[in-house]
């Protein structure tokens, strides 16, 4: 054998895996379906979001984004978890994983390729879906409103990638698809429903003592809450409308901090998944 062989990272192989994952989601119309769901919900909320207060039609970008944020917090994590929970365990159960691992590719390259392919599909669906909704909204938006909307789309993208990382982690740890499904559902309930309720419960139980000290930090432990803070705190007018949001200490809602935390939520589970999969 020649001496040219190395075990260094080969992006060409990562790209081959990623391209397959991406093409699969395009071919089975997953990207299209999710984009349509995102776009339809965004338009519905933009037009009918004010209906409870007796107003129908386009509202301010801040109000629209606040309504969309509430929707995205439920929808985006769910779709990301569904997309990624069987990325590895599904291949193992179908029997393809052994064949893949017998190829000249490292486990890290394989996992990275899978994540990048799925992330591309999720990103495309998010951008196209929420981006399409921007078309009818744009004429009534000024630059500031456009920035608010784009910030929402960007943070929704990061929220999705964070939950995709969690899903891929679940997929590398779970013994079978059934367990992976259970874990993905548990994660969704935990982060989207139970976490906030528990936090509120803890606040009430402690009668608010020292709440301002620890509660803001606790919010950072949940990517869904970080996403909420990014989008809701951007609109000062809505700040007082959200109970948990008002706990946010000054400085902790700095965009750099919040986006940094979301990036950490993307990187950390993926890092653990890579470590586990080795």
């Amino acid at each position: 054998m020649s001496r040219s062989a190395t075990s260094c990272w080969q992006w060409r192989l990562v790209a081959a895996i990623a391209a397959k994952e991406w093409r699969d989601r395009l071919r089975n119309r997953w990207v299209l379906a999710v984009a349509v769901v995102f776009g339809a919900f965004a338009l519905l909320i933009a037009y009918f979001g004010g209906a409870p207060s007796g107003v129908v039609g386009l509202r301010s970008a801040a109000a629209t984004v606040a309504s969309l944020t509430s929707l995205a917090i439920y929808l985006v994590p769910l779709i990301a978890l569904l997309l990624g929970f069987d990325a590895v365990v599904g291949e193992r159960e179908r029997g393809v994983l052994d064949l893949l691992l017998s190829q000249p590719i490292t486990r890290a390259e394989l996992l990275a390729g899978k994540y990048l392919g799925l992330a591309a599909a999720l990103s495309m669906a998010t951008l196209v879906g929420f981006g399409a909704a921007l078309v009818p909204l744009a004429p009534s938006m000024d630059l500031a409103a456009l920035v608010i909307y784009l910030r929402f789309v960007g943070s929704a993208l990061m929220l999705g990638l964070a939950f995709l990382s969690l899903a891929v982690l679940v997929s590398t740890v779970a013994r079978d698809r059934t367990r992976a499904t259970g874990a993905a559902i548990a994660l969704w309930f935990g982060f989207v429903l139970v976490f906030d309720l528990s936090l509120l419960g803890a606040l009430v139980a402690s009668a608010g003592s020292h709440a301002s000290t620890w509660a803001p930090y606790a919010l950072l432990l949940n990517p869904a809450d970080v996403f909420r803070v990014i989008n809701v705190f951007g609109a000062e007018a809505l700040r007082s409308s959200f109970g948990l949001g008002t706990l946010m200490a000054q400085g902790w809602n700095a965009p750099a901090t919040l986006y940094g935390v979301l990036l950490a939520w993307i990187a950390a589970p993926l890092g653990v998944a890579l470590w586990r999969f080795r």
Binding site: S7, L13, L99, L101, S102
Partner: protein, 319 residues
């Protein structure tokens, strides 16, 4: 083919005292053997004998707990694993491929992973008889077609070592014949082949050597003839006497040191151990007017295999 100083072909596979445990349970226990370039080795064993685990360790998919596995002189999980794996073609026991891809797309995907030329995939598919089905989705393939596609996948990049786990699963007799024809051509070109099979009669005349595993251990290794000799299995005599001659035939066999047994329809059978073969010829010559016909069957690979698995001889089982 490359040869060493001894004139023998180079060692391609070296397995040294390999142990693998799942939890506390050992599934491969101190297995060791070697294959030289251009050899075809049959790996036989019951379900759970450790064959597939051994294949996975040879590929570096799972790590051995003890011992060493060297392919082309390199550890398969070492720094040069990429080159080692590029030189290996693997067909798993259960061929699972992507149902949504066509046969051609499947091969092109694996060709990219192996840094092989995707342009040669069409030729490979035609080679395994899937030329006309190359654009159909794999979900529409029969089991045999999937197996052939899996084999074509294993041939990507012209591997110098083929690891084939139950390669003829789901193939019809004609396809099996064609498959072994291809293996013989590959072997003649210097490809080393390790294949496992439950269909021992199928590989008996096709492998150079056999490695028999039972409960994770290597229990026998050698050529089929050498294994049969070493196992001490007898040949089997079956004689059909003329009417009224059965008692005389039985007495003559008994007198010559055989143990005749009734075999139904008036036939008589007896085990023929190696030292008694000449005596058998003399008895048969003396009984030529008493017999309608006789057959002597040598032990097959299956008999050798089962004798190692169960510790009984085929004649004893038949009895």
């Amino acid at each position: 083919m490359s040869t060493g100083a001894s004139g023998l072909n180079a060692v391609v596979v070296e397995i040294k005292d390999v142990v693998k445990r799942y939890g506390a349970m050992p599934v491969v226990r101190g297995v060791g053997f070697a294959c030289r370039e251009g050899e075809m080795i049959g790996l036989a064993g019951h379900n759970g004998a450790g064959k597939s685990t051994l294949f996975k360790m040879m590929l570096g998919i799972i790590a051995a707990d003890e011992g060493d596995i060297l392919l082309f002189g390199e550890p398969v999980r070492g720094r040069r694993f990429r080159e080692v794996r590029r030189a290996i073609g693997y067909l798993p026991e259960h061929v699972a491929l992507y149902d949504n891809l066509s046969g051609l797309e499947t091969l092109r995907f694996f060709a990219r992973l192996k840094s092989a030329d995707p342009a040669r995939c069409k030729g490979l598919l035609e080679c395994v008889g899937l030329g006309e089905a190359m654009h159909r989705a794999v979900r529409e393939y029969s089991k045999g077609m999937r197996q052939r596609l899996g084999f074509a996948q294993a041939l990507i990049g012209e591997p110098r070592l083929l690891l084939l786990d139950e390669p003829t699963n789901g193939l019809d007799p004609e396809a099996i014949h064609g498959f072994y024809g291809m293996l013989q051509e590959l072997r003649a070109a210097g490809t080393t082949i390790v294949l496992s099979s439950h269909l021992l009669a199928e590989i008996q005349s096709r492998v150079d050597r056999l490695v028999i595993m039972a409960s994770g251990k290597l229990v026998a290794e050698g050529t089929v003839t050498a294994l049969a000799t070493a196992s001490g299995l007898p040949a089997r005599l079956m004689v059909t006497p003329r009417e009224g001659a059965r008692a005389r035939v039985s007495r003559a066999l008994l007198a010559a040191g055989f143990v005749p047994q009734e075999a139904g329809d008036g036939a008589v059978r007896a085990a023929v151990r190696a030292p008694l073969r000449m005596a058998l010829l003399r008895v048969l010559a003396s009984l030529s007017d008493e017999l309608l016909e006789y057959t002597i069957t040598e032990p097959t690979l299956e008999d050798v295999f089962l004798s190692h698995q169960r510790g009984t001889t085929w004649v004893e089982r038949a009895a």
